[in-house]
């Protein structure tokens, strides 16, 4: 896949960082405002996808990238599951129990484990969407050869 024109490249270069930051904001404020891990992760993945579309897949060494994202995805989801399993050790010993201190409602650091779940789910979703996208790109590259 070839890259697009210089205008598109320049604009995406400027925009991608902002979109990425917005995704991080959505993930971190998941317990306070609408949004959260999935929505934010999708936005973060969108930033990367935008860059890949603008600069063309030939700019990437694709085989390595795919295994990297799928590893990140697996590690992130494992951490989410381990966080949930840790609840079997603390407090009332129930799966998915919120065992960290809850804090003040409305603060950024509050709601116990929920921000942690949001962060790792965000990483997981971003990596998963990127994996799917890159896999489809690789399919296209291979069939056009």
């Amino acid at each position: 896949m070839e890259g697009m024109s210089t205008i598109v490249k320049k604009v995406t270069q400027l925009m991608a960082g902002i979109i990425f930051m917005y995704g991080i904001y959505i993930i971190l404020h998941g317990h306070l405002t609408p949004g959260g891990g999935f929505a934010g992760g999708a936005i973060v993945a969108g930033a990367f996808i935008l860059l890949i579309l603008a600069f063309g897949s030939s700019a990437l060494n694709l085989k390595k990238e795919v295994s990297g994202t799928s590893n990140v995805e697996s590690v992130a989801i494992l951490i989410v599951l381990l966080l949930a399993l840790m609840a079997l050790l603390f407090g009332i010993k129930v799966f998915f129990f919120n065992y960290l201190p809850k804090g003040e409602p409305g603060e950024l650091v509050s709601a116990g484990v929920i921000p942690l779940y949001n962060i790792f789910i965000g990483i997981e979703v971003a990596a998963a969407i990127l994996t799917i996208f890159l896999a489809l790109v690789i399919f296209k590259e291979e069939s056009s050869k």
Partner: protein, 512 residues
């Protein structure tokens, strides 16, 4: 044994992702890790089974229990029926995985296979344990999406086509189920199965719920491949790798299709005569047509797939008859007998259909063909496969002393007791047709004169494959012990108890 309940879902999920990561780093990691996990799950299921009895326990995720009488958390429920399903799922899962150790070596990307296998198990355990409609839908999708991937695992032309067909029809089914769940939530404002029952007990508008029930029957009927909705099953089940066919036919269509239908219609909705008649008719139609379609097949796995439709028809018909009898409310012994026959046949079908698909896999492994016309004379070359598949064929066609005979007998006796003489006759006739097509399978595969000259070169399959087939064949014989009243009481009675007293599920869980 409360803490074990979420682990039935968590352990296979964690192991699936561990296999994805560590399978690349450590060579052969997945090959010993996955069977170990499945064995652990089987042991856990048996522990739960032995400790549970007639009682039922529920587990609330995250410690959210009830708030002013309304359930706010996600419930996981373990009672007689679900624990029985849990045992079957993990038993067939373990045996199919053990079988795959040799079988799957001819494919690339082995570690992905084991990861997807663990996901399918996690999804089915979740479906069976879930006490909440939406959670049930999520777990159903987990298991079904991984089964889409596993059906296409061979990435040949037929596999991909079968998988696409399966996905389109499966997606349609999921949409119908989601629509029904949304409509239930609209009127009852709750998703907890027990709570929905309590709301419905207080009064409901019949036409609205009949519409929901029809949606659910079409949705889960598509998943369970009852006859008008069966188009995907023969393709998908015959194209998948054989251990996966055994999983799909043996447990998946029961866990995500029949189990959910039975659970919702017995323990959530109030019985209505119309729906009961629809159930019975659908069951009888699939029983008859599935058998005739199976008779015409020359592809071993397609024959087995169509026979799955027919045998599932027996199960659905038995439950439908018991629903009719329970609505009438005059013949409780016949209803209990029909439920017993249905549950017993479901267990048996998992065992013998799993075994038959493993046999078909063994034939495919050595001969590289599924066409019956190209086989023949294999009984001396492959003695273990031949003898186990003979036992399974006799069992599925209802020859004593194998388990299939007793479960069909119970269904037929129940039909006669409930004065369904036509259905009883049909069940007997279809049983003979089943015998006919399985004799055809036996004759062409194992006892005919060999067509191929190279038949001397064919050896018995490797240890892991023959071992799992022998275990299932022994189970075929051992399960016929369930026909004895005392053993039957200990093993099937808790499940029948939950289904007969249809209120007991909602009252015990909501603590009323």
């Amino acid at each position: 044994m409360d803490t074990l309940i979420p682990l039935f879902v968590a352990i296979p999920l964690i192991s699936a992702f561990l296999i994805v990561i560590l399978g690349k780093l450590v060579k052969g990691f997945h090959r010993f890790f996955a069977p170990l996990i499945l064995l652990a799950l089987l042991v856990m299921a048996v522990i739960e089974f032995s400790s549970l009895g007639k009682s039922s326990i529920h587990y609330t995720l995250g410690g959210w229990s009830t708030e002013g009488g309304y359930p706010v958390g996600i419930y996981m429920v373990l009672d007689g029926f679900s624990v029985l399903m849990l045992c079957i799922i993990n038993l067939i899962g373990f045996i199919a995985l053990f079988y795959s150790l040799s079988y799957i070596r001819k494919y690339t990307a082995e570690s992905n296979y084991y990861a997807l296998f663990c996901l399918i198990i996690a999804g089915m355990n979740g479906v069976v344990l879930s006490g909440d409609l939406f959670n049930l839908f999520v777990f159903l999708e987990v298991s079904v999406i991984s089964s889409y991937a596993l059906v296409a695992f061979g990435v040949g032309k037929t596999e991909l086509e079968a998988s696409f067909k399966y996905q389109v029809l499966g997606g349609l089914a999921s949409m119908l189920i989601l629509l029904a769940i949304g409509l239930i939530y609209w009127k009852t404002k709750t998703l907890n199965i027990a709570d929905v029952r309590n709301v419905l007990d207080a009064g409901y508008s019949k036409p609205y719920y009949i519409f929901i029930q029809v949606l659910l029957i079409s949705g889960f009927g598509l998943k369970a491949a009852i006859i008008p909705f069966h188009a995907w099953l023969p393709d998908a089940h015959s194209s998948a790798p054989s251990p996966i066919s055994a999983m799909l036919s043996g447990v998946l269509i029961k866990a995500v299709g029949i189990y959910v239908l039975i659970r919702l219609f017995f323990n959530m909705f109030v019985f209505t005569h119309e729906i009961a008649v629809v159930f019975t008719t659908l069951g009888a139609i699939s029983m008859v047509i599935g058998a005739f379609l199976a008779f015409m097949q020359w592809d071993v796995k397609r024959l087995l797939a169509y026979s799955s439709i027919s045998q599932i028809g027996y199960v659905v018909m038995a439950f439908g008859m018991s629903m009719i009898l329970l609505v009438r409310g005059d013949n409780y012994t016949a209803a209990a007998l029909a439920i017993a026959g249905g549950v017993y046949h479901m267990v048996n079908h998992a065992v013998f259909k799993g075994l038959l698909f493993l046999n078909a896999g063994a034939l495919e492994y050595r001969l590289d063909t599924r066409d019956l016309k190209k086989m023949g004379g294999l009984s001396s070359a492959m003695p273990v496969t031949s003898s186990t598949s003979f036992m399974a064929s006799m069992s599925i066609s209802g020859i004593p002393p194998f388990n299939g005979f007793f479960s069909k007998l119970i269904i037929i006796i129940a039909a006669i007791n409930g004065k369904f003489y036509l259905l009883a006759t049909l069940a007997v006739v279809i049983s003979f047709i089943t015998l006919a097509y399985f004799l055809k399978f036996q004759r062409y595969a194992f006892f005919n004169k060999p067509l191929q000259k190279s038949i001397e070169k064919i050896r018995e399959v490797p240890f892991s494959m023959s071992f799992s087939m022998v275990v299932l064949a022994i189970l075929c014989l051992a399960l016929s012990l369930l026909a004895f009243p005392s053993i039957n009481d200990a093993i099937l009675r808790p499940a029948i108890h939950v289904l007969m007293q249809s209120d007991i599920y909602s009252t015990t869980i909501m603590g009323l």
